[in-house]
Point group: C2
Chain length 323, copies 2
Amino acid sequence: MAKKQIVVGIDIGGTNTVFGFVNREGEIISEAKVKTKEFEDVEVYVAALYEKINVTFRKLGNSYELLGYGIGAPMGNINNGTIEYPSNLPWKGIIPLADYFKRYTTLTVTVTNDANAAAVGEMIYGGAKNMKNFVVITLGSGLGSGLVVDGKLVYGANGFAGEIGHTAIRPGTSNRMCGCGRKGCLETYVSASGIKRTVLKIMADSIEDSPLRELSFNELNSKIIHEAALKGDHIALKAFEHTGEMLGFKLADVVAHTDPEAIFLFGGLALAKDLIFEPAREYMEQHLLSIYKGKVKLLPSELSTQNAAVLGASSLVWTLKEI
Amino acid sequence: MAKKQIVVGIDIGGTNTVFGFVNREGEIISEAKVKTKEFEDVEVYVAALYEKINVTFRKLGNSYELLGYGIGAPMGNINNGTIEYPSNLPWKGIIPLADYFKRYTTLTVTVTNDANAAAVGEMIYGGAKNMKNFVVITLGSGLGSGLVVDGKLVYGANGFAGEIGHTAIRPGTSNRMCGCGRKGCLETYVSASGIKRTVLKIMADSIEDSPLRELSFNELNSKIIHEAALKGDHIALKAFEHTGEMLGFKLADVVAHTDPEAIFLFGGLALAKDLIFEPAREYMEQHLLSIYKGKVKLLPSELSTQNAAVLGASSLVWTLKEI
C-alpha cells in the first residue's frame, strides 16, 4: 500500500515550540512540543527539536511518508531561511535556521513568519482554497499580514513583504508608541494590545461607568473586552467600533495596492465576529475607490485558531512540493 | 534573412491616439496617430486605427514581423481587455476594446492602464531590467502606480491593482477634494495638479512675495513651479518640499506592502530631480520600518518621457510572448 504523504508544521514561540504532522486535508495527526526558552544555544535547540520530531514520527508507524519541514517563526525570512533579529526568542541576530535543519535532513525545509504561514495555510487548507488574490490579516498581540498575488505568497525583494501592521494610521498626529520605535502604526490600534489601549483612552475621555474601570491595564485583555461588549458595556462596544473603523479604513488602502478578492481576519480579535467585522466592513466600503466597491469580501479565517500556527507553518511545504 | 520582430504600442489619450512600432531594444521605428475625439463610435474608431496601423506597417517594408498590439488607456483592464468607464474618452461604459481589435487580427492584443504599462516598460526597456520586485509611480495630472512582484505585474482580482494615488494621505483631516469623489487622496497632493494646489495653499498661508502670485490657478502648471524653484522662489521650493514629503511618507507604506527593491518615479514632476527626490527619499527613510531602512532605491524612470506611453503599452506584448 502506498504511504500517506504528510508534512510537519513547526510553530516557534518564545515559550514553546509546537509541532504537528499534517496531511493534505489539513488534519493534524500528531502533535508535540519542546520548550524554546530552555535552549540558550540555537544549534542545540535544533538538534533536540529534530530528534523530538523524529521520535514522534516513528511512533506514527510505517504508513506515512514525510515530505518536509515547514517552520513558522517571528521574523522568519523565507528568502534566506533565517530568523532575523527576533525580539522574543532566546537567540540574537540572524539565525540560519534552515541551514541548521539541513545538517540532519535532505527534505524540504522552509522558514517564514507567522502571518505569511497563516496566509498560505488559508490557501491550502482554509477559505482561500479557490482564490488567487487575497490577504490574511492576523490579529494577535500585534497585527501581521500575508499577501497572496496570482496564487503565490508575496515575499518581496528582502523577504519582508506584508508588514501592514506598521503602516501609519495617523501620520504625524498620533501619540501611540509602537514596539517598532515609531508612532501611530496600525497595530497600535488594531490588535489585542491596541484595543486595550483604546479602552484606556475611552475611559480617560468619557465619564461612563463600566466594570472595566475596576481592572488595571495589565489585568485587561481582549477576551475580557469582548465579553464586556457582549454584555452591552458601552466602553467595550465603543472600543470595538473604533478598532473596526481603523482596520476598515486601512484595508481600503490595502485593496488599492493589490486588488484582492477577499481579506481574511485571523486570530483572537477576529473571534469577536460582528463586533469587529461590521465596523471594519462599513469603513472599508466607505473608503474604497469606486472601482473596488462591493467587490472585496471581508471574511473570518477558516483555520481553527487552536492549531492555526502549526497548520500555517506546514502549508508551505505543500506549495513547494506542488510547483 | 530572418525578419526582425516588432510590436506596436498604442497610447489612447482623450485628444490623440499615438502608436509606434517598437523593437526588443525599445527603439521606436515609426510613429503615427489618429484623432481619438473625432470618433463618436468606438467600433469605427478601432476600424480606422487598425487600418492606420496597417498602412504604417506596410510603409516599413518587408523586413519586420509584427508580434502583437499593446494598448495603454485610462481605466484599461488587463484581465478583461476592456476600458471601463473612462472619464476623458468619447465613449462611455465598458468598452471591449481587445475584442474589437480581434475582429481584424489573430495576433496578441493586450489592454492595460498607463501606469501598469509604464511599470512593464521599465522592466522590458528601462531601469528595472534585472529587477523582480519594484514599483513605478507615474506623476502626471494624477498619480498612477504599477506594482511588479516576482517579475510579474500585479493585476489583482478585478484587474485594478495599483491605485496608490487613491490611498488617503490624511484620514478625516484633509479638505482636498479628489476627482474620485473622496477627500485627501495622495494624488490631490502628489501630482502636477496637486503641487499647484499646494502652491495656492502656501500663498494663502504665507505673506512672502513671489512671481507666482501674478498667475491664476489656471495659468499655473508644474513646469512653471519647477522653473520658479530653480530660481530660488521660496513658495515653489516649499511646495516641492511638501510634495516630496507627502510622497515619501506614503512610499513607506507601499514598501510595507510588497517590499520592493526599487521605486521608480516617472512623469513631469519626476523631472524636477532633487527637488522632489530629496524630500521624498528623506521622508521615506524616516518612516520605513527598520527592516527596510537603507534597502529601497528611489530612482528616476529610465524611459524617455516623450515616448514612454507608447513604449509602456508595447512592452506588455513582449512579456506575453516570452512566457
